[in-house]
C-alpha cells in the first residue's frame, strides 16, 4: 500500500516537474529572466563595487568578486523558488492547477513536482553564473568539499523559497499573489550583510542583520568559498528548519486549494 502511494506520488511529481521544466526551457520569457537577473546583480555588485574591497577592515581572503558571488548564488536560489511560485500561481489562475488537483492521485506530488522543477532551474542558473564568475576571475579558496557544501546550502535556500512561494500560490491561486512571494524574500535577503561583512555594518542595519537568519547562511557560504568555514552547523540547521517550516506552510496551502475546490 505504502509502495503504491510512493509510486503515485512520484508519478505525479514527475509529470508536474516535466511540464514545468519544459515550459521553463522552451519559453524565453521564463528562461531569460532566470538567467539574466542573477548575472545583472553579479556584474553590478562585483564589477561596480570592487573598490569596496579596499575599505579599511574589509579582509575577505578570496576578494570582492567571490564575496559577492555567494550572495548572488543564494539570491538566485531564492528567486528561482519565487519564480516557480509565479508559475504555480499562473497555472492555478488559468485553471490548469485545478485540473492537476482533479487528476493527481497524491496531491502532495504537485508541490513536489514544482519543487523539483525549481531545483532544475536553479542548477541551470548556477551553471551559467558560476561560469561567468570564473571567467571574471573569481578566486576560489575552498576545497572541493567546501564548494559542494556551498551549493548544498544554496539548494536548501532554493527548497525553502519554493515551498514558501508554493504556500502563497496555493492560497491566493492568482498571479496577484506575486508580490507576496517576492517582497518578503527580497526584504530578508537585502537586510543581511550584502555589500560588506557584518562587522563593518553599523546602526540599524547591523542590528537587523545580526538577527536575520540569512546572515548565517551568507557567512557560512562565504566561509566555504574562501576555505575558512564558519557557522556551518548553524547555517545548515537554519536551511533545514526553514525548509521544514515552509513545507508545513505549503501543505496548509494545498489544503486551502483543496477546500476551494
Amino acid at each position: 500500500m505504502s509502495e503504491q502511494r510512493t509510486a503515485g506520488l512520484a508519478a505525479v511529481a514527475r509529470a508536474v516537474a516535466w511540464r514545468s521544466i519544459h515550459n521553463f526551457l522552451t519559453n524565453p520569457a521564463f528562461l531569460m529572466p532566470a538567467l539574466l537577473f542573477p548575472l545583472f546583480f553579479f556584474v553590478s555588485f562585483a564589477g561596480g563595487l570592487a573598490a569596496i574591497g579596499e575599505v579599511p577592515g574589509f579582509d575577505f581572503p578570496s576578494g570582492y568578486t567571490a564575496f559577492q558571488f555567494v550572495f548572488v548564488l543564494l539570491q538566485s536560489a531564492a528567486f528561482g523558488g519565487v519564480f516557480t511560485g509565479f508559475a504555480m500561481a499562473r497555472d492555478f489562475e488559468s485553471g490548469f492547477g485545478r485540473r492537476y488537483m482533479l487528476a493527481a492521485s497524491h496531491r502532495s506530488g504537485i508541490v513536489l513536482g514544482y519543487s523539483l522543477a525549481a531545483i532544475f532551474r536553479a542548477f541551470v542558473t548556477w551553471a551559467v553564473l558560476t561560469a561567468v564568475a570564473l571567467v571574471a576571475g573569481m578566486e576560489v579558496g575552498g576545497s572541493g568539499g567546501e564548494i559542494v557544501a556551498l551549493y548544498a546550502l544554496a539548494l536548501l535556500v532554493n527548497i525553502a523559497a519554493t515551498l514558501w512561494s508554493a504556500g502563497v500560490a496555493l492560497r491566493v491561486r492568482s498571479i496577484q499573489g506575486g508580490p507576496l512571494m517576492q517582497f518578503p524574500t527580497f526584504l530578508v535577503l537585502f537586510l543581511a550583510p550584502v555589500y560588506v561583512p557584518l562587522d563593518l555594518l553599523s546602526g540599524w542595519i547591523h542590528a537587523i542583520a545580526s538577527i536575520n537568519p540569512v546572515t548565517a547562511l551568507l557567512e557560512a557560504g562565504r566561509g566555504f568559498i574562501s576555505g575558512d568555514p564558519v557557522l556551518v552547523g548553524l547555517a545548515f540547521a537554519i536551511g533545514v528548519a526553514l525548509s521544514l517550516l515552509f513545507a508545513a506552510w505549503a501543505r496548509g496551502g494545498l489544503r486551502s486549494a483543496e477546500a476551494a475546490g
Binding site: 520569457a29 529572466p33 539574466l36 537577473f37 545583472f40 546583480f41 556584474v43 553590478s44 562585483a46 564589477g47 561596480g48 563595487l49 570592487a50 573598490a51 569596496i52 579596499e54 575599505v55 579599511p56 577592515g57 574589509f58 508580490p179 526584504l187 537585502f190 537586510l191 550583510p193 550584502v194 555589500y195 560588506v196 563593518l200 555594518l201 553599523s202 546602526g203 540599524w204 542595519i205 547591523h206
Partner: protein, 259 residues
C-alpha cells in the same frame, strides 16, 4: 497651440492623472521599492565613504540620487501598461475614430507620468532629508531636483508609450523593466565614476547616460550649483524625451494605419 488641441490634451491628461491616482498598485511600488533600497544601500555601504576620493562623508546623501532614477523606471511601466491596456481593450481604436490628434493623445497620456514624477520627487527628497541627507544647493536646489526628476520621469514615460504602441501588449511592456534596470546597474549608481576600479565596468558606466543623470542630482545634493552637470542632466532628459516622443509618434501612426 489651438484651443481644440489644448482641450483634447486636457481631457486626456485628466483621464491619465485620475487613472494613476486610482491605481495604488502603480504609485505604491514606485515609492516603496526605491525607498527600501535607499535604506538598505545607505546602511550597508556607509563604509564606502572611507574610500579615498569619495565626495562626501554621508553615503545617504550620495545614494539619494538613485531613487529618482528608479522611480522614473516605474514611469516606463506605468505609462506603457496604461496605454497597452487601452490598446488591448479597444479604447485606442475608439479614439482613432474621433478627430483626436496624435500629439494630443501622446501628450495627454504623459500627464500620469508627470503626476507620478511630482509625487515621487517630493517623497524621495522629503524622506532623504528627514533621514539626514544634505542638500548643498539649499531650498532652490530642491525645486531644481523636483524639475529634473519630473523631466526624467516624463522622458522615460515616452519610452513606455513607444513600447506599448509598438508591441500592443502590457506583458511586453512589463518585460522591458529588467532591460531598463540594466542601465541603472551598469552606471555609477553605488560609487562615483572615479572609484569604479573595474576597467570594463568603468568604460560602460562612462558612456551610460544614467551616470550623468545621477551626477546631476548629486551635484545639487553634494556640491551645490554645478551648471555643467545640471545642463548635462536636463539635456539627456530632453534628448530621451524627444527621441521617445518621435518613436512613439511613428509607432502610433503605424498602429492607427493597422486599425
Amino acid at each position: 497651440m489651438s484651443d481644440g488641441l489644448r482641450g483634447q490634451i486636457g481631457q486626456l491628461a485628466r483621464r491619465s492623472m485620475l487613472r494613476t491616482l486610482r491605481q495604488p498598485a502603480q504609485i505604491v511600488p514606485a515609492l516603496v521599492f526605491p525607498l527600501f533600497l535607499l535604506a538598505v544601500n545607505s546602511g550597508g555601504l556607509e563604509d564606502a565613504t572611507n574610500l579615498p576620493g569619495f565626495p562626501t562623508d554621508s553615503y545617504l546623501t550620495f545614494v539619494l540620487a538613485v531613487p529618482f532614477i528608479q522611480g522614473a523606471l516605474f514611469s516606463v511601466m506605468n505609462s506603457g501598461t496604461d496605454l497597452a491596456r487601452d490598446i488591448e481593450t479597444g479604447f485606442l481604436n475608439r479614439l482613432a475614430l474621433t478627430p483626436l490628434r496624435g500629439a494630443a493623445l501622446l501628450s495627454g497620456l504623459l500627464a500620469g507620468s508627470f503626476l507620478l514624477g511630482v509625487v515621487q520627487a517630493v517623497a524621495y527628497l522629503s524622506v532623504g532629508l528627514i533621514a539626514g541627507a544634505d542638500l548643498a544647493a539649499g531650498p532652490a536646489g530642491a525645486l531644481v531636483i523636483l524639475a529634473l526628476s519630473v523631466s526624467i520621469t516624463v522622458a522615460f514615460g515616452t519610452i513606455g508609450l513607444f513600447a506599448a504602441l509598438r508591441f500592443g501588449s502590457g506583458e511586453a511592456v512589463q518585460g522591458l523593466f529588467p532591460v531598463f534596470f540594466v542601465f541603472l546597474f551598469l552606471s555609477a549608481m553605488t560609487l562615483p565614476l572615479d572609484l569604479l576600479t573595474t576597467d570594463w565596468f568603468h568604460a560602460i558606466a562612462s558612456v551610460n547616460p544614467v551616470t550623468y543623470l545621477l551626477q546631476a542630482f548629486r551635484s545639487l545634493l553634494i556640491e551645490g550649483w554645478n551648471l555643467g552637470d545640471l545642463a548635462l542632466g536636463f539635456g539627456i532628459a530632453a534628448a530621451i524625451g524627444t527621441l521617445g516622443m518621435l518613436a512613439a509618434s511613428s509607432a502610433l501612426k503605424t498602429r492607427l494605419v493597422r486599425t
